[in-house]
């Protein structure tokens, strides 16, 4: 018989080579027709000829479930042995698929070569990796449990390989006769080799299965002992695999807990006395032997001996491994660091007191932290080990940095899951808390800047994955505010933030938080190192709308020259400079103002030239051409306004506005522009003391319009005057206030005449209202007059205008302005208030007081606040009357009892409406009155119980 033990050993060397060959997916050089039966499957699998495999399985008439099982196994093998290494998830999925389908596959097929091939792919593609982790880091229940099914599958496959190969070998042996011996012997040898290989590999692989059991489990010991017994036959030079077998035997003794036996075998590999092991152990085997010797000492609780052996291992590595072999040296250094970590943890467990335990544990974690820094590619494995030792329900703030880093890493892996995978939000939340804790510990031991940087960045990404997009964007902006040194991370954060904010703006751009985020991200994105200048226009416009004109100018200047909005950018830059000049409170130096005006001139020229060209460009759509014409019109207005108000050149203003209404007759928004130009013309004429020309200018314009258009122009002009007046008031520009008030009064007088004489009854009916407005305009002029005597005279005139409005004729006109159904009793409350207020301004309090009292008593002026969609707004006539009544009382009444109701009402109003009583227009006056009559009064909170 050929089945002699000696021959078995000699073919083992061939068998190990066969395993290596089987693990490769390269096709053989033989033709497919040369293969017998099931052997075709392994060949089709190797060649990844999936359609042919499908066809073959179909022809074999295999049941559908078996066909599906074989197909699943083959697909998984392709994944595991692909030229591009699979991702961790792909690897796990493939292994799970093989484990799930292996029984059906074994039942369906009989090719021992195919079974051995699957086992080999599993060992190389999955088991060795996890077994290696268990060997280096020690038992891990989770990893052991996940590895066990695969280890069992491998044993099952190798048993089946042995069984099928032996069966086929024996069948061939039975057919051999002298006539066919030469032909059949190669086939016999093939199956015999396969059977031997399967048996050998099975016993070597039993080690992996043993590793998956707890050290105290009887299965672990049983598997190890059986393997030791079966492998013993190969522990001799004839096998050609003696060093590998000896090493595995040593490890198997370790697994079964027989440490002296393990040490003895391992020492023989390390030292190879008298060259007894053949072939001689290679460097890797010698290293492993020394390494596991330390492990054996440690597991045997000889911790001092283990530490000494560890030192010896390090010394040996430094001398035996050539310095230029950096890969081997680095690998050895990492392995010994892990071993030192385990040793420190074992020492910590064995330490007698809590302080020593903690100190050793800290030392161990520091070592790991250093290892992560030195070998980032080991991070996943190290963090997985750290997580396995994480105490349950441990507070985040009590965890070591390495544990926090491991949690963050775990969350990072979780967040990268695909859309069809179930997300573990608890893992994400835990990682988020860990990342925040790491950021908090910036600068502390074992918390490197790189660690904080990545944790901070991931904090944002984790929040995003948890659908907390606003928080994510805020966090990423906080991260960017630290000016991270890692530019790649910074750019990633910036891109993500912009995408998040864009997404949030699509949902609700008016949301307060989203607006704030947008405001925050823009300047960071536009600035270095990101230089996203395409966002400069948008940000500059926002700054301009917020009144930050100079800031807006600097961003308008960053709009790229090829941006399609560049003409608009120049226009708004010009406008922003003018707005800054308009709102200046004397802070700008003369030189600076001169430079700003010069900038406006330059921009006026640029915008006019560019926008005029664009408005005539036939390739520009008609609508845009019109928009450019409007832009030119606006630019002329800015230039004219600047000349009038910032260069004191009213003549230039008039020159610029010559024929404005005809030049821009077809520009959009023409009515508004013409009104603006009209106001500037009137103002320019008035600055030149050309009142007649001002009126004439207005009349000549109105004469070209129908009645309704004329009224519209005047109304718009008055609105513009009021708006400018309020702006001047906010800026405390007294001179401008007086100028505008005078223009307003002049215009209103003209308005009354124009309306009263107008043939159109629809215009004439507004005459009474224009008169009321005119009286108010004159009262305002009187109030602003700086000369006291002239002011009194003007105020007396205003009073007379109001009193005239109470005449029977005017009263009749007043009643005609009322909407049907309105209370018609009494005179016009606004006129009565005007009379009272003029008397008040003339300090005729005794006359003002009863008029004001009657108005308020009848609630003719409405409530203190008027509801609106934006919340209640202050009713100015009410507050004016109330203030003047209380002030008049205080001026007239000198006895405490007599003044008590006035004091009580003022207190009541403060209690009800708070310190801003009367709103911006009246609060300072009320406050002055309060200091005068109830100086000690304090408002208390309404929320105190």
């Amino acid at each position: 018989m050929i089945n002699a033990p000696q021959m078995r050993l000699s073919i083992l060397a061939l068998a190990t080579t066969a395993i290596a060959t089987l693990a490769q997916t390269a096709p053989t050089t033989r033709g497919l027709d040369a293969l017998d039966d099931d052997a075709l499957i392994s060949e089709l699998t190797n060649r990844e000829l999936t359609p042919l495999l499908d066809r073959y399985l179909e022809v074999r008439n295999l049941p559908a479930d078996q066909r599906a099982a074989v197909r699943a196994v083959v697909d998984a093998m392709h994944t595991l042995s692909a030229a591009t290494p699979p991702t961790n998830k792909q690897r796990i999925d493939a292994v799970v698929a093989i484990n799930a389908n292996i029984d059906a596959t074994i039942a369906a097929l009989h090719d021992p070569r195919f079974f051995l091939q699957i086992a080999t792919v599993l060992i190389r593609g999955s088991i060795e990796r996890d077994a290696n982790t268990l060997e280096y880091w020690g038992p891990s229940a989770a990893l052991q449990l996940s590895l066990r099914p695969t280890a069992e599958t491998v044993l099952k496959l190798l048993d089946k390989t042995d069984e099928e190969a032996s069966r086929q070998r024996d069948a061939i042996a039975a057919q051999i006769v002298p006539g066919n011996q030469e032909a059949l012997t190669p086939r016999y040898t093939k199956y015999d080799t396969l059977a031997t290989t399967a048996e050998y590999t099975r016993n070597m692989a039993a080690y992996y299965a043993a590793l998956t059991y707890d050290p105290a489990a009887p299965e672990r010991r049983q598997l190890a002992q059986t393997a030791i017994e079966n492998l013993d036959q190969f522990d001799n030079p004839d096998s050609q695999v003696q060093p590998a077998v000896r090493l595995r035997l040593g490890k198997l003794h370790l697994v079964e807990g027989d440490y002296p036996a393990a040490q003895k075998l391992l020492a023989s590999i390390a030292n190879n006395p008298d060259g007894e092991i053949k072939p001689a152990p290679d460097l890797s085997q010698q290293f492993d032997a020394r390494y596991f010797t330390v492990v054996a000492e440690m597991l045997d609780n000889h911790l001092d001996d283990a530490a000494q052996q560890l030192g010896t291992l390090r010394d040996w590595s430094n001398t035996a491994i050539a310095a230029e072999n950096t890969t081997a040296r680095n690998g050895a250094a990492a392995a010994t660091s892990i071993l030192e970590y385990r040793l420190l943890m074992a020492r910590s467990d064995a330490a007698g007191n809590a302080a020593d335990k903690q100190a050793l544990r800290d030392q161990a974690r520091t070592l790991l932290t250093q290892l992560v820094a030195a070998r980032p590619e080991l991070r996943t494995t190290i963090y997985a080990q750290v997580l396995a030792t994480l105490p349950p329900d441990m507070a985040i703030e009590k965890l070591d940095p390495i544990m926090l880093a491991a949690l963050v890493r775990e969350g990072d892996q979780e967040r990268l899951k695909g859309p069809d995978e179930k997300l573990n939000t608890a893992v994400l939340e835990r990682a988020l808390a860990a990342a925040r804790e790491l950021v908090k510990r910036r600068g502390q031991p074992n918390v490197s800047d790189e660690l904080v940087d990545s944790a901070f960045l991931l904090e944002g990404f984790l929040l995003d994955r948890l659908d907390r997009h606003s928080e994510a964007a805020t966090t990423l902006l906080d991260y960017l505010s630290t000016k991270p040194a890692n530019l790649t991370n910074a750019k990633l954060a910036m891109d993500t933030t912009l995408a998040l904010v864009d997404q949030l703006r699509k949902i609700n751009r008016f949301d307060e938080t989203t607006s704030a985020l947008y405001q925050r991200v823009l300047p960071i994105a536009i600035g270095p190192p990101f230089n996203r200048h395409e966002l400069a226009y948008e940000y500059a416009r926002q700054l301009q709308q917020q009144g930050r004109y100079l800031d807006a100018v600097s961003y308008f200047r960053q709009v790229p020259a090829d941006d399609p909005r560049v003409i608009s950018a120049h226009f708004y830059e010009m406008l922003a400079i003018k707005q800054q000049l308009d709102n200046d409170h004397g802070t700008l130096t003369g030189t600076l103002r001169g430079e700003m005006v010069a900038d406006i001139h330059k921009l006026v020229d640029d915008v006019t030239a560019q926008a005029t060209a664009a408005s005539k460009n036939p390739s520009v759509p008609g609508e845009q051409q019109a928009a450019y014409r409007e832009l030119v019109a606006k630019t002329v207005l800015v230039a004219a306004d600047t000349a009038l108000h910032h260069e004191s050149q009213p003549r230039r203003t008039l020159e610029l506005l010559k024929n404005f209404d005809t030049r821009f007759a077809n520009a959009p928004g023409q009515a508004d522009r013409v009104a603006d130009a009209l106001l500037l013309r009137v103002s320019a004429h008035m600055d030149l003391n050309q009142t007649t020309e001002a009126t004439s200018d207005l009349v000549s314009l109105l004469s070209t319009r129908s009645g309704g258009q004329g009224a519209g122009i005047i109304y718009t002009l008055l609105q513009k005057l009021d708006s400018d007046f309020n702006a001047a008031k906010r800026n405390g520009n007294g001179e401008r206030l007086r100028s505008l008030a005078a223009a307003r009064a002049a215009l209103s007088g003209y308005l009354v005449d124009w309306a009263a004489r107008n043939p159109d009854p629809d215009i004439r009916k507004f005459t009474y209202r224009y008169r009321v407005f005119d009286a108010g305009a004159h009262r305002l002029v009187a109030q602003l007059e700086t000369d006291a005597a002239a002011g009194r005279t003007d105020m007396q005139t205003a009073l007379e205008r109001y009193q005239a409005l109470l005449s029977p004729d005017n009263h009749k006109e007043y009643l005609e302005t009322l909407v049907p159904g309105t209370d018609q009793a009494g005179d016009d409350p606004l006129v009565l208030l005007g009379v009272a207020s003029c008397n008040f301004d003339l300090e005729k309090y005794a006359e003002a007081q009863p008029e004001l009292a009657q108005l308020l008593d009848g609630r003719k002026l409405g409530p203190a606040q008027i509801p609106s969609s934006d919340g209640p707004t202050n009713n100015d006539p009410y507050w004016e009357a109330t203030y003047e009544l209380l002030f008049s009382n205080a001026a007239l009444i000198k006895t405490p009892d007599g003044l008590a109701p006035t004091e009580a009402l003022l207190k009541r109003l403060y209690i009800e409406f708070g310190p801003d009583l009367g709103g911006p227009k009246w609060s300072s006056k009320f406050e002055a009155l309060r200091k005068q009559i109830i100086p000690d009064f304090k408002i208390r909170s309404l929320n105190q119980k």
Binding site: D857, P867, E903, I911, G914, I939, K945
Partner: protein, 154 residues
């Protein structure tokens, strides 16, 4: 169910209706209001007639000041409401009661007697009745004596 408002109501005149002021009564008041929402501006009395106001022929004496009403505007906000009266901003009955009571207390200490303060509740058109009930109750619980309703505002 009885609302805890009867004991807080003070009547200046008329028959004592206290036993009848229960939830049914309050609901009736609001049903009446419903028919008036959006109509001409006038007050609908609840427990008290409003003081008659208007210009009288005799001029008020020097030092005279008007009795100002305290207006509580009620607007719907989501499923809830917001009551506004001067600086008061409340979205629940407890807060409103607290703020109104503190306001009334401060008014009294500042020299304005409670019976000089006419509280007017002005609901927006689509305010739910049960929110108006809460506001009404809050005013009474804050020990205001004159509480009236005005027709709805826009």
């Amino acid at each position: 169910m009885k609302l805890n408002i009867a004991r807080n109501v003070h009547y200046e005149s008329g028959p004592n209706m206290t036993p009848l002021v229960d939830i049914v009564m309050v609901i009736l008041i609001f049903l009446m209001l419903a028919g008036s929402f959006g109509g001409a501006e006038h007050f609908l009395t609840s427990n008290l007639p409003l003081a008659q106001k208007g210009l009288s022929n005799a001029p008020p004496p020097p030092g005279w000041v008007p009795d100002e009403p305290l207006e509580i505007r009620v607007d719907p906000v989501g499923d809830g409401f917001r009551a506004t009266a001067g600086v008061i901003r409340a979205s629940d009955a407890a807060t409103l009661t607290l703020q109104l009571e503190n306001m009334r207390d401060q008014f009294n200490h500042a020299g304005t007697a409670t019976n000089k303060i006419q509280v007017i509740i002005i609901p927006a058109k689509n305010v739910q009745y049960d929110h108006l009930i809460k506001v009404y109750e809050s005013a009474l619980n804050a020990k205001f004596e004159k509480v009236a309703f005005a027709t709805a505002h826009d």
